[in-house]
Amino acid sequence: MAFNSAPKQFGTILLGVAGLGAFVLNLPAAAGRVTLFIGQILQALAPPWYGRNFARQLVEIGFYSLPVVGMTAIFTGMVLALQSYTGFARFSAESAIPNVVVVSITRELGPVLAGLIVAGRVGSAMAAEIGTMRVTEQIDALWALSTNPFRYLVLPRVLAAILVLPLLVLVADIIGVTGGYFIATARLGFHPGTYIQNTWSFLEAQDVISGLVKAAVFGFIIALMGCYHGYKSRGGAAGVGTAATYAVVSASILILISNYLVTELFFAQ
């Protein structure tokens, strides 16, 4: 029995190795395609500019993401205060809660959670919209009507995302810290004035700035992945669905990787 199953197991292992090999070989090719795509976006920086599209994307990405980002931020701040209290109480460090909440929110949780939430909401929508335009020949129609789709569709989305994500994160920071403040004062017995004073005195400009830089990077990644996968989609409705999935997954992974790299840039000793 074991003798018979050995070639089968060997075949399965070979298949796994082949799959890994294909993935590794595809990675540089994919990176090259994305780099060329970025090159076309940079070429599209020349006029004419489509201010109306840019304004529409500011509203779409920024304003309509506010509720979901705000909800995420406030509950994250509340949970953070609660969890920190139960943990810090073990070694009588409850007074550090305002500091932990503000640093965690501004440096990490605000930008990363906002980035992931916007990647899910906006990145998939961009991929689906541009992908639908691709499979219904609307992208071809843009070229035929002497309009560069990178200038008309992609650039406004990328610029709007780069600009709006930091603003969203700023709002998320304020809401998140407020959530922590609310739990600390209403449930954990902190004095409101002392909590605010501790928060304010501990907070450094670099904490906020690093978060905003991260947010701009995440905004670029979200729009880039959404537009790239939408633009390259093929094969009708199924292709558009796949593009939306790839846009969210690839943006989420790149957000987590770039989060580490920007953190290294700001805080490495």
């Binding site: 004419p48 639908t132 335009m133 219904t136 020949e137 609307q138 071809d140 129609a141 070229w143 035929a144 009507l145 002497s146 309009t147």
Partner: protein, 284 residues
């Protein structure tokens, strides 16, 4: 009582006029599949050429190559005597006149098979899109022009503020046609303009195509499977098979085709020179 309306007829291209478009020895493959294989074709100025051919033979692909939306692997496309595309690496005559695809697109209007209207824009912005992009005219001026173009394709002004999702198939085609002719192009490309339409709407679209061509004095290439449409709108017909033009001639040949391949296509016969192998050893 019978209702007789005078239908427009295609202008005949005079003898000896220059070519509007000429494709020479085009080759294009998607992976292993050869789509265009030594494809050559010319269109005289003012001529209406219809390309016939079975599904999947590369008719729409040729239109996209002509507009520069797809790059051919080999071959040359000339527009008004000038070669289209970039010179880099061509190794050809450096002095030969050249034009960019952008120049061609600025003087070309295309009606896509799916109409390809922009879902997020109202009808009037769809129609005036090319005008606003190319001439940077104001939105109010663009709206006026769009309404005039919509009236030309027999759509009421109220249509201007609807969105494409609110239109029927025939209305979408007419809006697509209004968009294609809005900037008064000299070259018109129609990709299956009457697919999916009833015979009456097909006739209306054919008449609109002819009247637009005659009004603009434009040349046109139409891709279609519809024999009645082809007979109505064409001066000349070309039959595409196996990636190349296997027959071309006057549209009158459609009435009594002498060529074996054309006869098979016109009569819709399963057996003949146009049969293709769909699987190994199997003919469809």
């Amino acid at each position: 009582m019978t209702l007789e309306t005078a239908s427009p007829t295609p202008n005949s291209a005079p003898e000896g006029v220059a070519n509007e478009v000429e494709a020479q020895d085009l080759h294009l493959a998607f992976g292993d599949k050869r789509v265009l294989n030594s494809f050559s074709l010319s269109l005289k100025r003012g001529e209406s050429l219809v390309i016939l051919g079975r599904s999947g033979t590369g008719k729409s692909v040729f239109l996209k190559c002509l507009l520069g939306l797809l790059a051919v692997n080999r071959g040359d496309i000339f527009w008004r005597g000038a070669e289209l595309g970039s010179r880099s690496g061509s190794g050809k005559d450096e002095e030969a006149p050249r034009k960019s695809y952008a120049e061609l697109r600025a003087q070309c209007g295309m009606l896509f098979q799916s109409s390809a209207l922009f879902d997020s824009l109202p009808v009037w912005e769809n129609v005036a899109f090319g005008l606003m992009a190319a001439r940077r005219i104001s939105r109010s001026e663009a709206l006026d022009i769009a309404i005039a173009r919509l009236e030309e394709v027999e759509l009421p002004p109220e249509t201007a503020h609807l969105f494409p999702a609110e239109l029927s198939g025939g209305m979408r085609k007419r809006v697509g046609l209004a968009r294609a002719v809005a900037s008064e192009p000299r070259l018109l490309l129609f990709d299956e303009p009457t697919s999916g339409l009833d015979p009456i709407m097909t006739r209306i679209i054919d008449d609109l195509i002819l009247s637009s061509m005659n009004r603009l004095g434009a040349s046109a290439i139409t891709v279609t499977h519809d024999m009645a449409s082809a007979a109505r709108i064409a001066n000349r017909v070309a039959l595409l098979h196996g990636g190349q033009i296997v027959w071309h001639g006057s549209s009158q040949a459609l009435e009594d085709p002498q060529d074996e391949a054309l006869r098979q296509f016109v009569r819709g016969e399963a057996q003949g020179p146009l049969a293709v192998r769909t699987r190994a050893g199997e003919q469809d």
